[in-house]
Amino acid sequence: MTLLAKPWIWAWGAAALTFALTIGLTSGRGAGELAYAALSFGAFAAIVGLGQMLVITLGPGNVDLSIPATMTLAATLALKAMGSMPGTALLGLAIALAVGFGAGLTNYLLILLLRLPPIIATLAASLIYQSLAIWSNRGLRIKPPEALADFATGRFFGVPNVAWVGLGLAVLVWIALERSVWGRWLLATGQNMRAARLAGVPVERVRASTYLAVSVFAGLAGYLLASFSGGAALNMGAEYLLMSIAVVVIGGTSIAGGNSNVPGVWGAALFMFLVISMLNSYGAAAGLKNVLTGAIVIAIVIAASTRKGRK
């Protein structure tokens, strides 16, 4: 019963169910490949989802809409700097993280100095990041250095390397949220910003660090995704806007803020990928797939809200 009361159990249960349904279709063949793909693609969704979760925890109205543009910009600039040369992987990583940091700083300064609602600030900024990415990319498709591509698509103890990165990040975020003062501050700010400020929580520092974190995570996700898929593309981040918000909500984090859930993000990230691959293996057309994905997200939001209501 205590296990069933955990909000993240639903996301993991749904992920397991979809996995079983997909495998059932092929009567057990391809289970390993499916798990590998789910862990790899789930990792990208989980990394941006963790960042989005921190921002949503800050309270109503806080959401980062610049994640796709930041991912694309970070990946484009990192791959351009590496120029497919061997031994430049760390340089690329540093550039991707720096781009993320810069984007986060810009977002936060817009919110702070112009007193913009975060939605409009991140939206306006994302248009600029997108332009920067288009301008610097010019339609080129630069391959990542071979060693980096091997790392991004490789595995360690049977688990994809990108999934290790995503898991490591999840553990870090969990520790920061549950075991550090910063985590307590973040939750307090999300529950009631005014009360938190009066209680001596450095609210602005918490907000700044959160918006920096989400963008740095997005930069990392963009870097890994570009290395994984053999190059940066201008629309590579597009699907991660819905994805980042969906995995947070499905994972059991409260959209009203002040309450976050790290394991749920991973469960939901796996679930989202598995749903799409299940629809693929049942031969659904692209249109139907989109309709069902949207309907499932809404159904889960409704289910989550009625569950909350019964308490």
């Binding site: 248009l127 332009s131 301008w135 918000i245 959209i255 057309a285 249109g287 989109n290 994905t293 409704i302």
Partner: protein, 309 residues
């Protein structure tokens, strides 16, 4: 309160006039019937989409599905409305009802509008792909004729924008319904206490948004003469930006229909202006973001000055 903060319409007007003056200075030949028509050609669907977004922002929600919705409408207009007008019309009416139902559901179940509309954007986009898997279709002749009509004195886009502004101003600012709808954004509880059904009002606001979204999609097809499933995706961002540029606020039911139309015109003009600057088209999207930030900075400075006096 000084004049500037009391009349929040001043800033959008000034932004548009400054941008227009700069455009004319760069390219004097644009100062003609034909030139204005080219500059504001695509303003009508954007202005209509902005009106749709305004209806949602008015009741303190935000609609991230609008671009996909307008694309879906465009696909239906370019196929069903052309071949089987009755069926096409029924589909468009059903879409408006679906929007109203979405509003009722968001209110009744206390769902976060941002997540529901983001999910719906996939649903609309999926349906659009069903109808038009690849770009195509054609505009109904009457729609094409309506969008390319050449009224005397001012081009179609300008006349239509003024018409949209006047109609929505009467609807939202002057009518009883509009006042109550803005009240939902201002103070939901007191509207409910006064005996109104907030559920019905929210459904009404979303239904209006659906209606204007449908008009936007139809106007777009009338201009482009064909459609595809991704034709209007950027309208989501443009419409939000237009409402905010026009002096609207995210919360509190503070919106200005006239301002929002002007905001939409400013954004349309910004794209044309950049091509006059011979700036690379790579920067067009970014420039819209920069203009948005600039105008909001200006608004902040004015409202601070207002607070001091």
């Amino acid at each position: 309160m000084n004049t500037l903060s009391r009349y929040r319409i001043i800033l959008p007007v000034v932004s548009l006039v400054v941008l227009l003056a700069a455009t004319f200075w760069m390219q004097p030949r644009a100062m003609s019937y034909f030139g204005l028509n080219l500059l504001f050609n695509l303003a009508v669907p954007i202005a209509l989409a902005t009106m749709a977004q305004m209806m949602i922002i008015m009741v303190n929600d935000i609609d991230l599905s609008l671009g996909a919705f307008v694309s879906l409408v465009a696909c239906i207009t370019a196929t069903y409305l052309l071949d089987t007008p009755v069926l096409g019309l029924a589909m468009l009416v059903a879409l408006i009802l679906a929007y109203a139902a979405m509003g009722a559901m968001i209110h009744a179940l206390e769902l976060p509008a941002i997540v529901v509309t983001l999910g719906m954007s996939f649903v609309w986009g999926g349906f659009a792909l069903f109808i038009l898997p690849s770009p195509g279709g054609a505009s109904p002749d009457w729609l094409r004729a309506l969008m390319t009509v050449k009224p005397p004195f001012a081009p179609m886009a300008v006349v239509a924008s003024i018409l949209i502004a006047v109609v929505t101003h009467l609807l939202i600012i002057r009518s009883a319904l509009g006042t109550v709808l803005r009240g939902v954004g201002g103070n939901t509880r007191s509207v409910a206490r006064a005996g109104w059904s907030v559920l019905k009002l929210k459904a009404c606001a979303y239904g209006l948004a659906g209606f204007f979204g449908v008009l936007a999609g139809m106007a777009l097809v009338g201009l482009t003469t064909s459609a595809d499933a991704n034709i209007a995706l950027r309208y989501t961002l443009l419409s939000i930006a237009g409402v905010i540029l026009g002096g609207g606020e995210f919360v509190g039911g503070k919106v200005s229909p006239v301002g929002a139309v002007i905001g939409a015109l400013t954004l349309t003009l910004a794209a044309s202006f950049l091509s006059f600057l011979r700036l690379s088209p790579d920067w067009q999207i970014g420039a819209q973001g920069a203009i948005l930030i600039l105008v909001l900075t200006a608004r902040l400075i004015f409202s601070r000055k207002g607070a001091e006096t």
